[in-house]
């Protein structure tokens, strides 16, 4: 009977790959200029630095929970880089590179982990809107897939050539909302790209406990969507297939489903302790050898796009930006308690008015329950 940890099953590796684990091209590289390549590199690094920093802040209690992208960065990065301004990205908690690539202010990323009310962050951080649209990251999983497809329906019906990209985890494919999003995407032929960031784990459950399908890519069959399966640790492969999908979507060819095979190197988040359920010493080694950043760096250096000097410059710049962002985020003061009522409905009802008054009294040390007529808090 006894089962202590899961035995992992490595998924098939017959996926699309451009850059091999040693950082050598297996086939033609995508057409990217040097500055575009460096932009990818910069995002890789800034993700690592930022997340490392946030991890420290979590340890010291400044932020409450951190979920890292570590080791999976090529997937959100390659996907996001395939988009254009005005496109939409529906993300989860594991796509930091997609946010940073499109200049979602780092301070906002940090702030969102502090647990401040959204209005507080918006007001106290004087930041610019990124060129790509990010709806909110939300906690419940699967939900964003359906919403993203709705977003793409809006584009289709308005004949806009905007594309919506959505990221979902492997575990999240089990949700009804994943099913709905995929199905509606097929029926309405929408300009969407649905990316499954298959890191093989959903908290403590390996993907063989999530589905019996051999690949996640083949789930697209159920919905009549074209699919791709790529090495999720190869930013070129992800970029190329995402670009094809974006192009198809933008030109009216409908939605595509892309499985990016990667691996969750660490804990689910800072509340999690994977030692309890997986013994991944062997897997770790295997996946460390396939690290997306190392691989890309090797390539850049071998192509002469990156040298020690540029690297140092980039790293310095990132350190500075992260430090600034941390300062900015730290400067946010706690919300006014009454904030909790903001943006519930557009207009204040009697109830809202009344409960605000109750809260106000309580905070002032006055008894909030003194209204016995319904008119006690007026005027």
């Amino acid at each position: 009977m006894s089962q202590k940890t899961w035995a992992e099953e490595r998924p098939p590796e017959d996926f699309y790959r451009i850059l091999d684990p040693e950082g050598k091209l297996q086939t033609d590289a995508p057409e990217l200029a040097d500055d575009e390549l460096l932009e990818l590199y910069r995002t890789f690094l800034s993700t690592r630095v930022l997340e490392e920093k946030m991890l420290n802040m979590q340890r010291s209690g400044e932020v409450s929970l951190v979920a890292r992208t570590f080791g999976e960065e090529a997937t959100p990065l390659g996907g996001a880089a395939a988009l254009q301004s005005d496109d939409w990205i529906f993300y989860t908690y594991r796509q930091t590179p997609a946010l940073l690539y499109w200049d979602l202010p780092m301070a906002e990323v940090i702030a969102s982990a502090t647990g401040h009310e959204p209005e507080t962050i918006a007001e106290q951080l004087d930041t610019e809107d990124p060129p790509v649209n990010f709806p909110p990251g939300y906690t419940p999983i699967g939900v964003n897939v359906t919403n993203a497809v709705g977003s793409a329906m809006a584009d289709a019906f308005n004949d806009r050539d905007t594309v919506t990209m959505v990221f979902t985890g492997d575990g999240s494919t089990s949700q009804g909302s994943f099913h709905d999003g995929m199905n509606f995407a097929g029926v309405f032929d929408v300009p969407a790209v649905i990316i499954c960031q298959n890191n093989q784990w959903a908290i403590s459950e390996p993907s063989q406990r999530q589905t019996a399908s051999e690949t996640f890519a083949q789930k697209a069959d159920a919905y009549g969507l074209p699919n791709e399966r790529v090495d999720g640790n190869d930013v070129f492969a992800v970029y190329e297939k995402a670009s094809e999908a974006v192009e198809r979507a933008r030109s009216g060819g409908g939605a595509t489903f892309i499985e990016c095979v990667t691996y969750r190197m660490g804990a689910h988040n800072t509340s999690d302790n994977p030692d309890l359920y997986r013994d991944d010493s062997e897997q770790r080694e295997y996946w460390e050898d396939r690290d997306p950043v190392d691989r890309f760096e090797t390539y850049l250096r071998s192509e002469g796009v990156l040298d020690d000097e540029t690297d140092a410059e980039i790293r310095d710049e990132i350190d500075e930006r992260v430090t600034d962002a941390v300062d900015q985020a730290r400067s946010i003061s706690n919300s006014e308690p009454e904030r909790m009522f903001d943006n519930t409905l557009h207009e204040r009802s009697w109830r809202e008015h009344h409960q605000r008054a109750e809260l106000h009294r309580e905070l002032n040390g006055d008894n909030p329950f003194v209204d016995f007529t319904g008119e006690g808090f007026d005027g």
């Binding site: 939409w88 009310e117 959204p118 209005e119 962050i121 918006a122 007001e123 709806p135 909110p136 939300y138 419940p140 699967g142 939900v143 359906t146 919403n147 993203a148 497809v149 709705g150 977003s151 793409a152 329906m153 809006a154 584009d155 289709a156 019906f157 949700q175 009804g176 909302s177 099913h179 709905d180 999003g181 199905n183 509606f184 029926v187 309405f188 903001d342 943006n343 519930t344 409905l345 557009h346 207009e347 009802s349 009697w350 109830r351 809202e352 209204d371 016995f372 007529t373 319904g374």
Partner: protein
């Protein structure tokens, strides 16, 4: 059922119209249909989603003719998934559309509860007011039509307990037009309940011009000095029938907005009459009557001349056809409750 003349009177100044508007006699479902058409003409972002709303025009024909007039990108027949409908509608709303999804029957909303809780009611807050969710979910609700299980439910409690959404219920054709138009124009998500039992039962003159009715004001259907009946939807008509048939001067309030409540109108009335009955189809335990009673207790206890009685559906599953009339409250049950509170003495 007694006379229904009172509730058919339109409170015209409420509609901020000139006197003597042109009207057309119509029933409630026709009012729904006309209002959808009006709003779709008025605003291109209004899109209907649901199953069976296209060529069929809705199982109750609420969307009849709209596909022909507006095409398949405005009247969208979807796959058979309530969660998919609400979830894609939410995505559309995030992009500036004004989706008006139809859920075929209130009792089929439940698979959509995830999207409702996670995307619909929270987005506005979650984005600090940046993304709005102007969605109006139309649902036929209520019993008395001898349909199968889940076709007769009245479960507004699940919505009323939830922040970030309005719950509106119309009781007559003219009310329907004004309230539905306002719901669609409103920037909050709205659950719009249509009392299907009286989709076709009751006709009244409905002004042909555009008008809206406020979402935050209950409507005094009938003034009286002895006892207040708080109700909505199809039950307004039962309350009227009971009022006509009881030895008391009954004030009837049609809540119209079940969430948030127009507490001032409610308290004013009960403070005046000192007695109150709530009449609703929903199950009693934590039916909206519970909240109404609690509010009155909290803010008008000293005015009460009698306990508040709740004439409601029972805390049981909606039963089979053979006994559904015994389950549902009606004018008799309303009358009993009125008499009970009238006869009460401390």
């Amino acid at each position: 059922m007694g006379s229904e003349s009172e509730q058919l009177e339109l409170n015209t100044d409420e509609m901020s119209m000139e006197s003597e508007p042109d009207t057309e006699e119509m029933n409630l479902i026709t009012a729904v249909n006309r209002t959808l058409r009006q709003e779709m003409n008025r605003n291109e972002s209004v899109r209907l989603l649901g199953y069976d709303i296209g060529p069929l025009g809705g199982v109750y024909r609420g969307t009849e003719g709209l596909l022909e007039e507006f095409g398949g990108e405005r009247v969208i027949d979807t796959p058979l998934s309530e969660n998919g409908i609400i979830g894609t509608a939410a995505g559309m709303a995030m992009r500036g559309e004004r989706p008006v999804p139809e859920i075929e029957f209130m009792g089929f909303f439940y698979p959509a509860f995830g999207q409702f809780m996670y995307a619909v009611v929270k987005t506005y807050k979650r984005t600090g007011g940046e993304l709005e969710m102007p969605m109006t979910v139309r649902m036929p609700y209520g019993g008395g039509v001898k349909a199968l299980e889940y076709h007769q439910e009245s479960t507004e409690t699940y919505f009323v307990h939830t922040p970030g959404v309005r719950v509106v219920c119309a009781s007559t054709p003219a009310q329907t037009k004004g309230l539905l138009a306002e719901s669609i124009r409103n920037d909050d998500p709205v659950i719009f309940l249509e009392p299907k039992k009286i989709y076709r039962g009751v006709e009244e003159p409905v002004p042909t011009d555009e008008y809206t009715l406020p979402l935050d004001e209950a409507r005094v259907v009938r003034s009286g000095s002895d006892v207040t009946v708080l109700t909505w939807g199809a039950m307004v008509h039962q309350a009227n029938a009971a009022a006509a048939d009881v030895d008391a001067d009954v004030e009837i309030i049609d809540l119209r907005s079940l969430s948030p409540l127009d507490i001032e109108t409610i308290l004013d009335s009960v403070s005046k009459t000192g007695r109150c009955v709530v009449l609703h189809e929903a199950r009693r335990t934590l039916g909206l009557g519970a909240e109404l009673s609690a509010l009155i207790n909290e803010y008008a206890l000293d005015r009460l001349k009698a306990p508040i009685k709740r004439a409601t559906g029972y805390d049981a599953h909606f039963p089979g056809h053979d006994i559904e009339d015994d389950y549902l409250p009606d004018d008799d049950r309303a009358r009993y409750a009125i008499q009970a509170v009238m006869n009460y003495e401390f």
